[in-house]
Symmetry: C2
DNA sequence: TTGTAGGCGTTATCAC
DNA sequence: GTGATAACGCCTACAA
């Protein structure tokens, strides 16, 4: 005997089927049968087993189940530090996972590495986060682009193991075979363009999201394309640098101090719109009287800004739900072979930050 | 033979030490030794094994390890839907867990049950959330009061299994043997009282947090006690109902329309302070000129309010860190037997929502 | 209807 | 440095 039999190795150990069997006076195998619900047992044994299980507060061990079946019933979620939008997405993910008996393991880029200069530090960190997920044998992952797209080489850690990947608001290159869920950015850009034009604006500005993001590119392109089809309009675009929205302060100030300043600005996100508000205030530019503003996302603070922000509402909660539904479905192979790319509908919410162009200017 | 040997049961199966051994031309046992870092191997074998492991992208299976050792290296986190404060706490938890090779499994009360009328629906939901954690054999849990305190009978699901419990911003009854981490609420209340008195305010109002919350009770008591020791001051308190802060609108309006309206109000949270701003605006009451306001928490929006809010800053990130440190430490029994109750220091952040009482009123 | 025993996948360890 | 084996909790084929 290589090692001494040691059934009590872990003092605070969980109750096992063996323990139930001992209490009920039957074998562990019988316990297994009863708990599995096979009706092959006498009613009397059944009751004895069931009540023993209850008395001991038995709970099945999913770690074991995961080991045996290769399905851990856990989904890895790689998210950014939360803002309002992403917390809605997480909510959708959590709800859907819960309903399907899955559980999320959420990892963030670590705080410590946040102000890191060497990209190396970042990468190491992200790789180790990925490994923490892999080591737990998650059944799939949901990724958020800024955490994933910049480091797509690391994503291969998942794809090479044929782990289902679903990205949110970002489409990975084909070879990763990853599904994606997002909002209909293209429609959003178009809605904004139409709205501003109907109000009479012709000289229009766009503060675009970072070009490294899918949403930044898509919103910009659809907005510019839509404007291009409307005769008489012109659009000037400045791109916000990647990172915190306030980093776009310079671009915004530049746009607002242009000799021929736009009468309306489409900010690619509500966060950016908030910065536009601030810069406008500092320059004595009145929102609505001198300048109309549109955002994108409908964050919680959008309605509380003064004046309340006109914006494009995304259904973040549903985006989360779909993402979770898709990872789960991929796990059971019930989907086709080709990656899915879903774009959920968006909606223009008109509030008070946009107004008709005053005649004097027109 | 009961069942056919089936080494290829799961097609997309992960690579094992056995596979590494085959590739490197050594036994699995050798692989185990090398990977464990025991220096009992020849450098040459070591390298062969290591490179084979790398080539196959080997990753240890923590599910198996968890099953064998009884330690899953996972911590359950039961949190509310995120607001700014709680997201900071989560950040601290995540960082600390990551540094110690733990992983969080986060569960929320389900969205679907949110508007539930029958408390029964709620309880069932919470119990099933707890079981999802238990079934994964988490090594401990971090709980947030509103999810836990109202249902302390369910918490026994954890405590009866001697699972380490750490609560945040709430102290559970002794019999649960739960640790807790929070902020020094009492000091916070005192700081606010002193601040307002130094500014000359004597007729002071308090919008208290719900009495079911620890923070609501502690902030109120310390604030009222501190004021009681300062001669000439009087304090009137209205309690906010549990739930969304805007539910306190009636109480706030009532206070602001009192014949002898307070000249300063301490709102038990920044969220409540925001509601006070709104009600004051609707009543034409000027903040600072007619009324000083203090909040509690220093949420992200506090500095952006107009005027910027004077508030008590809590170090939510550190609260999260400590909570995680403590669950982990409990798991390794390195702590004493008595529950720990830590209150982290707070700090008064004076901004522009508080001002000296004008002489005319004084 | 129930018990026995072998196997699931992975790792660690003991005797050689 | 290796082969054999225990161990985790659970499932199941087969014998009783």
């Amino acid at each position: 005997m290589a090692r001494r039999l040691n059934r009590e190795a872990h003092p605070g150990r969980q109750v096992s089927q063996r323990a139930i069997g001992e209490l009920a006076g039957v074998s562990q195998a019988t316990v297994s049968l009863v708990l599995a619900g096979r009706k092959v047992n006498s009613e009397e044994t059944r009751q004895r087993v069931l009540s023993a299980a209850k008395q001991l507060r038995y709970r099945p061990n999913l770690l074991v189940h995961g080991m045996q079946t290769g399905k851990s019933k856990m989904i890895g979620v790689m998210a950014p530090p939360y803002d309002y939008y992403w917390s809605r997405i997480l909510y959708g993910i959590h709800d859907t996972l819960a309903q399907n008996d899955y559980v999320p393991i959420t990892v963030w880029p670590s705080h410590n590495g946040r102000d890191v200069e060497a990209s190396n530090g970042y990468e190491t960190d992200e790789l180790s986060q990925i490994h923490r997920l892999l080591d737990r044998r998650v059944d799939g992952v949901i990724l958020w682009p800024p955490t994933a797209s910049l480091f797509s080489d690391h994503v291969s850690e998942f794809s090479s193991r044929e782990l289902p990947i679903v990205t949110v608001d970002h489409i990975l290159p084909k070879n990763f075979q990853a599904d994606s869920v997002g909002s209909d950015e293209a429609d959003g850009g178009k809605l904004v363009a139409d709205h501003l034009c109907k109000l009479g604006h012709r000289n229009i500005g766009h503060i675009a999201g970072p070009n490294v993001t899918s949403w930044g590119r898509l919103r910009r392109q659809s907005f510019e394309d839509a404007l291009a089809e409307i005769p008489g309009t012109s659009c000037i675009t400045y791109e916000a640098p990647a990172g915190h929205p306030t980093l776009a302060t310079d671009q915004i100030r530049a746009m607002l101090t242009l000799p021929n300043r736009p009468t309306a600005i489409f900010a690619a996100s509500d966060l950016l719109a908030k910065v536009v508000y601030r810069v406008a205030a500092s320059l004595g530019i009145s929102i609505t009287k001198d300048l109309s503003i549109v955002g994108f996302s409908d964050d919680d603070f959008a309605a509380e800004l003064v004046p309340p922000l006109t914006t494009v509402r995304q259904d973040a909660y549903r985006v989360g739900r779909r993402a979770a539904e898709i990872v789960i479905a991929r796990g059971s192979e019930s989907l086709g072979k080709r990656p899915l790319h879903e774009a959920l509908p968006v909606e223009l919410v008109v509030r008070s930050s946009t107004a008709a162009l005053p005649r004097s200017v027109a």
